[in-house]
């Protein structure tokens, strides 16, 4: 059997400092199998003692060709793949994709569906932040945080299961609305969560925010200034921790976010601690939105949750049995799919990690010509080298956890 080849640093030669070539600094490989790289991320570190001179990310270990696959599927079937990108924010991905399709084919969404979308997306944002918080604690040796956060996340997973039948890969939103209306138990399940959760956030804060050991490891570590962040395309909580008040929910409101009263937490320090605090505050803001959403939902009982444009939305099952047109539409919809114009659009939403954009191009047929997912983790990670220079390897772990990357989001 052939032997495995030794790892070669040759391709990275132009990225390390000259001292590495003379052997003065050390090259160390971190990952792709490493517990604190949050997936299969490989980092090539150039070290001077224990201080990082350069960190060169090597990505692509989780590349699954989602964009290529989507080109061979109809608009509806391609949506299933969006769940698999950022698997911590599945409904958020669905939302971004559905909004892109709706923009391309110019489809309106009824109000009740919009409200459901807001509630579910914000719950998913909380769930995603909970995973962030848990993994963040775990990376900084606060093991109990992980367990507490996953305990609360379970409530949200249950709610998602109530709505869509799935815990993670929901595909709950569809172009033109949502798959089906929320069940009766939805309201009480969400209210139960709203009742429990604020106290739990206080508990997290009691555990972490003023913990001197944690503060020592976070404050002043991994500072990213606003200009560098913007140049690197960094968005989301990471950008807001650097003092830029930019949230697409406020800047370009979609699905009715302009009707909700919430704040956008911004910190100016730009360090790891600021990023942590922004996440904590976003828990409370998202919860506010969910609460207002429930009140709105109460005022819209029994209203439709899908567009009645039969060209793009399947008819209800009850109609298929009695109406010839409905049967034709049903058949055409599920076999051929719906056509979209030969044009392209770009639509973006605020995911828990930043700007999740979808570039969607139709070619007049039922399949997209090109889908590009502008995923926030990709750009956020590209700034890592600027953040870690001059810090210790142990700080790299904290910084990496604080930018909240998901490898499925990066590699697509």
């Amino acid at each position: 059997m052939a032997q495995l080849e030794e790892v070669s640093y040759e391709p990275f030669k132009h990225l390390v400092s000259e001292r590495a070539l003379t052997g003065e600094t050390m090259l160390l490989n971190m990952g792709p199998q490493h517990p604190s790289t949050h997936g299969v991320l490989r980092l090539l570190l150039e070290l001077d003692g224990e201080t990082i001179v350069n960190a060169i990310p090597d990505i692509g270990y989780l590349h699954t060709g989602v964009e290529k696959n989507m080109e061979s599927k109809t608009y509806l079937k391609a949506e299933v793949m969006t769940d698999r990108l950022d698997y911590m924010n599945t409904t958020g991905n669905n939302l971004a994709y559905c909004m892109a399709v709706e923009k391309l084919i110019d489809l309106d969404v009824p109000e009740r569906a919009q409200v459901i979308r807001v509630i579910v997306t914000e719950l998913q944002r909380i769930a995603s932040h909970l995973v962030f918080m848990g993994a963040f604690g775990l990376d900084l040796a606060a093991m109990s945080m992980f367990l507490y956060c996953f305990r609360e996340r379970e409530y949200i997973m249950d709610i998602l299961e109530l709505c869509s039948g799935q815990r993670m890969m929901t595909t709950y939103f569809r172009p033109g609305g949502v798959w089906r209306d929320v069940p009766e138990e939805f309201d009480s399940a969400v209210r139960n969560f709203i009742k429990i959760f604020p106290k739990r956030v206080d508990e997290y804060e009691a555990l972490l925010t003023k913990n001197p050991i944690l503060l020592d490891r976070l404050v002043g570590i991994g500072i990213l200034d606003a200009k560098t962040a913007l140049s690197h395309g960094v968005t989301g909580p990471t950008l807001r921790a650097s003092g830029v008040n930019w949230d697409l929910r406020k800047a370009r409101p979609y699905i009715g976010y302009e009707q909700y009263d919430f704040n956008v937490p911004v910190r100016t320090e730009g360090d790891t601690f600021a990023r942590y605090i922004v996440h904590i505050e976003e828990f409370r803001e998202s919860l506010k939105i969910v609460e207002q959403g429930l009140e709105k939902l109460k005022k819209l009982p029994g209203k439709p949750v899908n567009s009645d444009n039969r060209k793009f939305v399947p008819p209800p099952r009850a109609e298929v049995g009695v109406s010839m047109e409905a049967l034709i539409h049903h058949f055409k919809f599920w076999t051929e799919g719906f056509p979209a114009p030969k044009a392209s659009i770009y639509s973006a939403v605020e995911s828990p990690r930043g700007e999740l954009g979808v570039y969607l191009e139709g070619n007049g047929g039922p399949k997209p010509h090109r889908v590009h997912m502008r995923t926030p983790s990709f750009d956020n990670l590209s700034a890592i080298n600027k953040m870690v220079q001059g810090h210790l390897v142990a700080d790299l772990v904290a910084i990496l956890a604080s930018i909240d990357i998901v490898l499925g989001d990066i590699d697509r």
Binding site: A2, I59, T235
Partner: protein
């Protein structure tokens, strides 16, 4: 079109002779490849487009048109809250575009991705390697003439195994 945007498109028109299209309220500006770096610099410095939201490409191979590729630059201005899309048409034969990595840092990785997926060369790129697919791969998967499927993924490093399963790879 937005008034602020109209001014910007006009300025681009005077300077670089660009054409533009509009669809669903989005403005697509067609820029010549040799002007793209200047156009991006102008937009960043004078019109406050701080954020390069997306950089991608699309392939019109099936439509048998030249130029075959479009490279797409999606820009956002935070200060004015407007977006604009620049498009560069590139020929299919040895496609080349000047690199924008000097203007926006994020273009560094995004251009590597476009090179990886479409085989479009970015001249003057500081780090022209593949980013998502493995080193040594020769094809560019998002091109329309790249087939979907037909190859078994390699889950082993046992080279005898691989040779056995993929006889064609050795030939």
């Amino acid at each position: 079109m937005d008034k602020k945007l109209e001014k910007i498109v006009q300025a681009l028109q005077e300077k670089f002779g660009v054409t533009h299209e509009e669809f669903r309220g989005e403005v697509h500006v067609f820029v010549k490849a040799e002007n793209i770096v200047d156009a991006l610099t102008l937009l960043r410095d004078k019109y406050e487009f701080e954020l390069l939201s997306a950089l991608t490409a699309t392939d019109y191979y099936e439509q048998h048109v030249e130029p075959r590729f479009h490279v797409i630059y999606q820009l956002s201005s935070l200060a004015q809250n407007i977006t604009v899309q620049l498009r560069v048409a590139v020929n299919g034969d040895q496609p080349k575009v000047p690199s924008a990595a000097g203007v926006y840092d994020t273009a560094n990785w995004r251009e590597r991705e476009v090179f990886d997926m479409f085989g479009i060369q970015f001249e003057g790129h500081p780090d022209p390697r593949r980013i998502l697919t493995p080193e040594g791969m020769e094809a560019h998967p998002l091109r329309k003439d790249f087939p979907l499927g037909y190859e078994e993924p390699q889950f082993t490093f046992n080279y005898d195994d691989i040779d056995l399963k993929k006889i064609y790879a050795k030939e």
